[in-house]
Symmetry: C2
Subunit: 330 residues, 2 copies
């Protein structure tokens, strides 16, 4: 069965295509009676406007692209979910592609987006040292780009991200309040700007407000690494009494080590992390965490996107605030 088109409707009704088109969108030029007829027939033949023809004609695709490192991720999936929700409510559809942390894939994805003339793209950088040339060209073509989470340092882009410094500082505060003597602070991939921000804010705060606390900094880019590092530190003479985890991934590794070594939380060791809350609440006692909501970030990103699409350029860097959620691990 072939799709019903305006032409088909026009033929059956002995009207012109333009009249049918206008009738369907309630144009004042058309009389109420013809509108009724047109709508009735359209209904019964279940006419669906061809999005491609519309987009070709109007040069407006009503499709937004999203690039994430991985869909299968506790943070990004909630981000995506939020963006999807907002998009649908605003008449946009989403095209989601994953870069798999591979810049080459990222380029492929952008190409697909360009070919599909998306109205805008949400992008999360897949790698640390990124060539931003492509994104600049997107902007030249007037395709707004909203970076989220892992954003470029460059100031020529619209960016939304968590208040990374605040997150790290809030965690540091709690650690100090806990009267920690020796803390192990685990951060993610050193090359990522998000890591740098969190780390430097954390270090500076600890330095400034509790210089006497001994702080071991380490980096882990996977759960396994985090687990290994934790075990190593737990084997030392001076075991850490508090551990800070920058991401869920790290927390998972840390907890594996802690559980295996049967270290008691929080009596023998305190644990605090930055997370959206899902993973921390899986453990017992619940892990205390500074909340970063992918959902909130998604909503914010969408607002920015809309502003960019409608109001021309608005280059700003917005952050969504964090809050501390008490578990039982500190």
């Amino acid at each position: 069965m072939t799709n019903t088109t305006l032409k088909l409707l026009a033929q059956q009704l002995q009207l012109s295509i333009s009249t049918v088109s206008r009738a369907l969108k309630d144009h004042p030029d058309i009389s109420a009676s013809t509108k009724a007829k047109v709508n009735a027939l359209a209904q019964s033949l279940d006419y669906e406007p061809n999005a491609y023809a519309i987009q070709l004609r109007t040069q407006n695709s009503k499709i937004l692209g999203v690039i994430v490192p991985a869909i299968s991720n506790l943070f990004y999936d909630s981000f995506i979910a939020a963006v999807e929700e907002e998009s649908r409510n605003n008449g946009y559809a989403l095209m989601i592609l994953q870069s798999s942390h591979n810049p080459e894939n990222e380029l492929d994805n952008l190409k697909i987006f360009r070919q599909n003339r998306v109205s805008g793209v949400f992008a999360c950088l897949s790698s640390s040292s990124e060539n931003l040339e492509v994104y600049k060209r997107m902007n030249e073509r007037e395709i707004p780009v909203v970076f989220f989470d892992i954003v470029p340092k460059d100031n020529h882009f619209t960016k939304v991200r968590m208040a990374d410094e605040r997150c790290a500082i809030m965690a540091a505060e709690k650690i100090i309040k806990r009267n920690a003597k020796k803390v192990l602070a685990l951060f993610g991939d050193e090359a990522l700007s998000i890591t740098q921000k969190r780390k430097s804010a954390f270090q500076k705060f600890m330095q400034d407000f509790a210089p006497k606390i001994h702080c071991s900094i380490a980096h882990a880019s996977s759960s396994k690494e985090a687990e290994a590092i934790t075990k190593k530190f737990a084997g030392k003479i001076q075991k850490p009494d508090t551990v800070f985890c920058m991401t869920d991934e790290i927390l998972i590794g840390v907890m594996k080590a802690i559980q295996e070594l049967e270290i008691k939380v929080p009596s023998e060791i305190g644990v605090i992390s930055i997370s959206n809350g899902f993973i921390p609440n899986l453990y017992y006692p619940h892990i205390s965490y500074v909340e970063t909501s992918g959902h909130e970030l998604g909503k914010l990103a969408f607002i920015q996107m809309l502003a960019n699409i409608k109001g021309g350029k608005t280059l700003t860097e917005l952050t969504v605030d964090a809050k501390y959620v008490e578990g039982g691990s500190m």
Copy 2:
């Protein structure tokens, strides 16, 4: 800056649009020298074919739609990730929408898909009692539909799903081997066919091969419910010595209760679940589980989709097999 089109290229090269078009796709009619020139200019003006024009002309969108109840879900996100990967490798782009378990949203989503003339849709039913009329009409329009995970009973559709019965039976086998006396089996939403399949297979197997084991069946549609039920049963005189969890969600609730009540696993209680493995490995000891891989299912679904698109109708129900993964909880 306006997008570069074939027309633009043609003008600059003093060629016809058709020649440019053919040159770019390496058509034998065009001489090597002109091809070279065309490609060079296309390159420098970074020409990107307009997907909408192509789709309008060729009536082939190269876009696949995916409907999931929720993106933010440990099973579905890995399914999506797999489908996305396969799709990109085969020149398809993905449009992902979530129904939020709401049939109304599902209809909206399908409408978007139809308007975008997707080449096919992967669908996971959002609700138990579903009106399949829409899907039938999609098939009439020759838009292949591949159902996954939560599939209709109707035999007029292509379906892929986990080997639900096998999963449940494998779990039952392990429970019997463990020499359980009293087991608590927790299943999900009773109306879902996936629940029914797993439950009836589980019950029948237990009945047939270990009728003496006392089996309490309960349903929970959230972690909270599962937690409450577990606590209730743990408070009885005859505590269960083994608990079976049909989903991750249930497992999480069960483990909350177990941890809170400080019940020892596996000495006081054995735990087994059906999962993709992520959640079970978070606990210590790791929870033993029957593996259902969203990733595998995604790949299978894509194969089926391709077969449907290319080879016309192939209505079958395929299942991906399961395997048991030993944790330390049994």
